[in-house]
Subunit: 109 residues, 2 copies
DNA sequence: CGTGTAAGGAATTCTGACACG
DNA sequence: CGTGTAAGGAATTCTGACACG
């Protein structure tokens, strides 16, 4: 649900194209997966498939690595951002719930 | 320019994934290219790369083919639609030009 | 015309490992 | 820790062609 299933999140890109798009080596791309920074899917036969979102994250990772940031630290950054995103979503949901309650909530029998 | 360079139009999908996505055979996908219904790009080594736009067009083609429409007729349909799109763009440009002229066009010296 | 298939070769991708630092 | 590389195998993709209808 949400804005998923959009082009940006569909896992359709092979590692060779990701290599072209990011300038990273296959070794690096696989290693960042091993460190849980990205999560490609697999074809039936086992080839990795990435989304545009993954490609963009990889570019960010490459930038951080150039600045000497370790994969562990990058991982923490990603977690932090994800948590903030979830928090915002919760707030939004709460506000929506509140509005719905105000209008339809306390209906007399 | 335009809405190009968006995810939808980037040629990054291999023929194997396109096969999965469309349910067509590689033979069919290559044949529709031969008939000029789609225009994949190539990697340096010669593998075809498709966009999400291509995938959607292929699904349309598959639907038409099921209804017995020939590739020639499909080609004409595509041309017609493209021409209409261009015409609309021309109209939009003309309108814009007109507006700009009305405001800034006939400036005295 | 539209599609299947077998053929042979070239390029891709995968995993586990050794290397260096 | 992060990345390169050689190794061997499996899967992918390509082209040109023959087949059928």
């Amino acid at each position: 649900m949400n804005s998923d299933s959009s082009y940006k999140n569909r896992k359709v890109i092979s590692i060779g194209v990701v290599k072209e798009l990011t300038g990273l080596s296959e070794r690096q791309i696989r290693y960042y997966e091993e460190r849980n920074l990205i999560f490609p899917e697999r074809t039936e036969k086992g080839s990795r498939k990435y989304s545009f979102f993954d490609v963009e994250r990889l570019v960010e990772i490459a930038n951080q690595r150039e600045e000497g940031v370790s994969t562990d630290e990058i991982r923490r950054d990603i977690n932090k951002r994800d948590k903030e995103k979830l928090k915002k979503e919760d707030i939004r949901k709460d506000m929506l719930k509140g509005q719905l309650n105000a209008r339809f909530g306390i209906q007399k029998k």
